[in-house]
Symmetry: C2
Subunit: 694 residues, 2 copies
């Protein structure tokens, strides 16, 4: 796919290393970063020095958005030289390769991804291959001039470098910094240099190529007139020792690699295998029957997902963590449930891994109360925390980093009911798609407790239940719970009586019915089916003929229209529980009502932006790409909508939100009128993997 | 000492941890940093919340220079509150304690320093005490109001925190971040909190004191009406695993402490012992017969020195590194020779340690050439590199990070001749003050080779020698060497025929005569004495009656006047080689000429700034505090000058350069007309320790 505007940042990351070579936006800083909430702020210099001593570079550094074709610039230590920013940049943005090129030079960045084998069962060699924290570059220089050029690649950082020549006995050329980031090549004829910056290096007055005092390290190669030259480069990341705090876990790759040099050597030695996988992924996405903007969104989302992944080792087993983009919260559960579909496709063991981290360490029992009478507590039950910590700091067992008490339906309040549905929904999809009987057996009691807890959050008095949440967790200390949509108004932000969360409760009951049946818990299965019916009926009855839709919150005369009313249909759908979404099935009325709801709010434009992009709530200018992409799938694949030409218009709008509205933040989630304003650099948008199954 | 302006940054550092709690400048960022080239850019919040919910803070955070007495401010997440910046800040800046206070609150920062015992001979318990990377705070709150206050202390960073409560089983209160920095207290009644910022925390709407999502962690204590309360706090630093690259060495303290919690526990448990030492140091400086500005300069220099020190462990022995301030070059040899006097007073083993690192790893043999005929090479000899690496990256053996080839007397050229004198001069002072016979025996051959190498840099043809440098190192590849004064014009920057370096060659010969005599190498001793005579005569003859001084460079009609002509007299002086500096001794003419030189250039004001500060060279506006302070000592203690009232005027000027001209950079070295413009945050200024011996 060739995006209409090639200037935007993208993650380029290994799997599970919480590391990224972020670049792509013109005139912006970028580079290799570990554990960062945003693009590394360095300089990337790729281009060539010609016979007139003009350095022509791709616009991948700050200040390079200038359209001046050529200018004199001064290096850090007073050495000056001619600099030309290459114009007419082309970009080819595939699933696992990203190629940025202009006249005379192109950079291909390969980030192969593939199923990570279950570490409990795989061979060490497979695990080494899957965990090796490398990214592969191919630099191609074409010199159609009549004089020689020097092709260069360089990274400018704020620390300093050591040369690999010495530490690898000359087998690799390249440089590493602080043992954490580095690059290497074994291409013949390439030499390494260090200096203050490329201008200083290319115009150096001195005779020492590796001037160790400089923060920039690079490679160079002679490209004769009429010649083509390719440099094969591996970028490597490494963090030794404890990677997390308050529980000292290390990166999984440290089980296989002792240091960065080993990573770089392995990366180069296995280069062909990695590139073959990248090509395979590229081909898969290319042949999909999706439009180019959809393919762009999938490729963009995939990169941001892997940039946030962190595969750890606790001394006995693997621990899978996905960090929450710019916020770096660890395994935020309401993201897990959205990234579920992606992880189920590639490595279902990570879903189980996270679910069991929640049961073992981040679960708890609470009480519940009626918001009209906060002082009277009733039995609540089992639930799970919002997350497991932040920025590599594990939160204490049973606590998230995010949730605090005493807030009434405001950001940072508890998400107890929604996280409870998330455990059930993830478990359901995991089991349905793996048939992992051991998992189901092990968590039979958990599922029973989840069901009880869900019901108590509806109403502790069985007689008064209507299937959706009405009681608040005691953890709010008299306040009120929120949903994952924490920065929206009550249409999506408040939990109780919310039809978005109501839909997830309905789906949870449907899932529980299925899992109880599989577990031969017939009575519970029947009960769960009845609960689902109760929820569906309540939501159906919520339909307001006058409004033409189900208002977002079934209390206090709320009149917001929300797209995510339909969101939870995805779970029975991907589990193959076709009865649940069958227009003629037991929930026929509910399905029909949702169709009517959705048709109305889209048809009237209540939930559309002017550019055709989707607006999750009619009453809030804050629309989340992950959820839009998910609901697009549900509308088409479950409810059977065909958007005709509006489909491409919406996809193009969404793609532009990412490319223009989130230019410097790679793939982001929250947009206000097409501009990212939160949840930047975010992993969650991989809900769009579902499109590949349509 | 109570500096006239209390607003300036200072290092507050343990010994050997390359760590600093930098703070003191009003309205500026500061905080705890590891291995940084400048102050950590965080927020320090110290003050109290009163009954009207106004938060009164010392001005130790960005924006606090405002003189507005009270204003509403908004916390990071929209919570607002009243903020008052405390006015009338007082500062008491002693050698090992720095007290910053205003009405109602004071912060005392204790940084005890003391002789680090030779690790090869000391008991583990002594080494643990000396290496423990802690700084001690005492917070005093005085509430003379009629209502209760909450005293607070907080640090805002860009990462997140874990609570110590959980990890220490409740024995400590406080927080740590990434296992690298943290604070703890065991004072009763103190609790810990975390939040976005102090305004959010003090006005929080929620009920969770430790809100883990926030980048600010703090302590708070209730201070009743009329009460005084003290919180005893320890700040701890820690970096586990390899601390350096291209040779993996760890911090010495990791031999004694496993993690940051241990460091904090030990720091608190040993608090009284540490504070007693700080008080001892304070008293020593207080009772010295120096003016307050001199005492300020000593205290300021000492802090910046320790902030740059790095005590490492290579698996078998200690490795001492002093980093070069903002540049973070490791063991820059031309700094070592200046910091020599300080280290000899406290821990001479560090001098030997560095000298032997140079002989073992950072020495080499070169050739020399006549600058008139660069292609003809002659035997040169042994010398040493400028440094050993940069930012924890060891440079390859035999190479510095700084020096590059092909430059003719320009910044980053080689300093071969000067580093050669530095090894001799350090070895001489080390031996004279320790009588370490083993050292002398071991390095007898080195000294012989140094002598030969020095002579060859004068002239490979013995008949043509005149005692000072005329031949350039082959490492310059046809260029020309520079001195440590790399950013000055040729008056101090060029090596050959330079009277500053000539003085150091003279001193080296004097030192060698002494060391050869001690080694029973009588013939070499006689030769060295003759070489010293030759150098002294050449320098003496350089005196230009017309100019009234010895021009800085004895070639090409140079007419600059430089103070450091007298610098090298310090070496025989501190070695007790009284004959060398005796006005009636063998170098009487040289001494008399230097007196005349110095008297003239100071008397005429050629080498003075208008404020009375010293200008090292008449032809360059770039004056270095370390060298000024050293030459002040030489002028007074060796040449017998009495500056009368000009003394205090100069000291006050120099102190103001640091306080005003280097406000945000702690103690700096290079000043242009009183403003620091390079060598910021620098360790070298401890040459002023010599003043205590006058």
């Amino acid at each position: 796919m060739k995006p209409e505007n090639p200037s935007f940042h993208a993650h380029h990351s290994p799997m599970g290393a919480l590391a990224s070579f972020t670049c792509g936006a013109h005139g912006a800083k970028g580079g290799m970063g570990l554990e960062l909430p945003a693009a590394f702020q360095g300089e990337i210099s790729i281009g060539y020095l010609d016979a007139e001593n003009t350095l022509s570079l791709l616009p991948l550094f700050e200040g390079s958005e200038s359209s001046e074709s050529e200018r004199y610039v001064e290096g850090a230590e007073g050495t000056s030289g001619k600099l030309k920013v290459l114009q007419g940049v082309q970009r080819d943005y595939k699933w696992a390769t990203d190629t940025i090129g202009a006249e005379g030079v192109s950079l291909e960045i390969a980030t192969p991804f593939f199923p990570i084998p279950d570490p409990a069962e795989a061979m060490p060699s497979e695990l080494g291959f899957a965990s090796c924290p490398v990214v592969h570059l191919t630099l191609r220089f074409t010199n159609d001039s009549t004089t020689s050029r020097r092709g260069i690649f360089a990274l400018g950082i704020d620390r300093r470098w050591s040369s690999l020549e010495e530490s690898t006995g000359g087998s690799l050329t390249g440089a590493t910094s602080q043992g954490q980031i580095g690059f290497a090549t074994d291409t013949d004829g390439v030499s390494c240099w260090m200096d203050f910056d490329p201008i200083s290096a290319m115009n150096r007055q001195h005779s020492t190529p590796e001037f160790l005092l400089g923060p920039t390290a690079g490679l160079e190669v002679e490209v004769g007139p009429g010649e083509e030259k390719t440099i094969e480069i591996v970028l490597g990341f490494f963090k030794s020792g404890p990677a997390t705090y308050n529980r000292e876990l290390s990166y999984y790759y440290t089980q296989h690699f002792t240091n960065l040099s080993q990573v770089l050597e392995y990366g180069l030695a296995s280069r062909e295998d990695y590139l073959a996988i990248a090509a395979e992924r590229d081909a898969e996405l290319e042949k999909a029957t999706l439009n180019d903007e959809q393919k762009f969104l999938i490729a963009h989302a995939t990169r941001s997902y892997y940039g946030s992944t962190q595969w750890l080792w606790d001394g006995a087993k693997s621990v899978w963590v996905v960090n929450e983009g710019e916020y770096l919260m660890m395994n935020t559960f309401d993201l897990t449930v959205d990234m579920l579909f992606f992880e189920m496709q590639f490595n279902p063991w990570t879903v189980r891994n996270i679910l069991e981290q929640f049961t073992e360490r981040y679960s708890f029992y609470d009480s519940v109360f009626d918001p009209q009478d906060p002082d009277t507590l009733y039995p609540g039950g089992l639930s799970f925390t919002h997350d497991m910590g932040v920025m590599n700091h594990w939160s204490p067992a049973g606590r998230s980093s995010y949730e605090v008490g005493g807030l009434d339906r405001a950001c940072f309040s508890h998400m107890t009911c929604e996280q409870l549905t998330n455990w059930v929904l993830c478990a359901g999809v995991y089991y349905a798609q793996t048939r992992d009987e051991g998992f189901l057996r092990k968590h039979r009691q958990t599922l029973v407790e989840c069901y009880e807890s869900l019901q108590n959050r509806d109403n502790p008095d069985p007689a008064k239940r209507d299937g959706i949440m009405s009681f608040e967790s005691s953890r709010t200390e008299g306040g009120g719970e929120i949903t994952t949509y924490d920065s929206l108004d009550h249409s999506l932000g408040q939990s109780r009586r919310n039809i978005y969360l109501g839909g997830k409760m309905w789906a949870s009951y449907v899932v529980l019915e299925s899992l109880f049946t599989e577990s031969a818990l017939e009575e519970l299965a029947d009960n769960a089916a009845a609960s689902a019916k109760l929820a569906a009926d309540t939501l159906t009855k919520g339909f307001n003929e006058e409004l033409g839709f189900i208002p977002a919150v079934l209390e206090e005369n709320n009149q917001s229209a929300i797209i995510p009313a339909i969101e939870a249909l995805v779970y029975p759908h991907v589990m193959g529980l076709t009865h649940a979404t069958d227009p003629e099935g037991p929930f026929s009325e509910y399905i029909a009502t949702l169709k009517k709801h959705f048709h109305h709010i889209m048809d009237t434009g209540m939930c559309l932006y002017e550019d055709g992009g989707w607006k999750l709530s009619s009453s809030a200018d804050n629309s989340w790409m992950s959820k839009i992409n998910l609901c697009q799938f549900v509308a088409r694949a479950v409810l059977g909508f065909d958007f005709g030409e509006a489909q491409f218009k919406a996809d193009q709008a969404h793609a532009r939100w990412e490319r223009e509205g989130s230019k410097l933040s790679a793939c982001s989630d929250q947009f206000r009128s097409g501009v990212a304003h939160g949840s930047l650099y975010y992993p969650r948008i991989v809900t769009n993997i579902l499109w590949l199954s349509e």
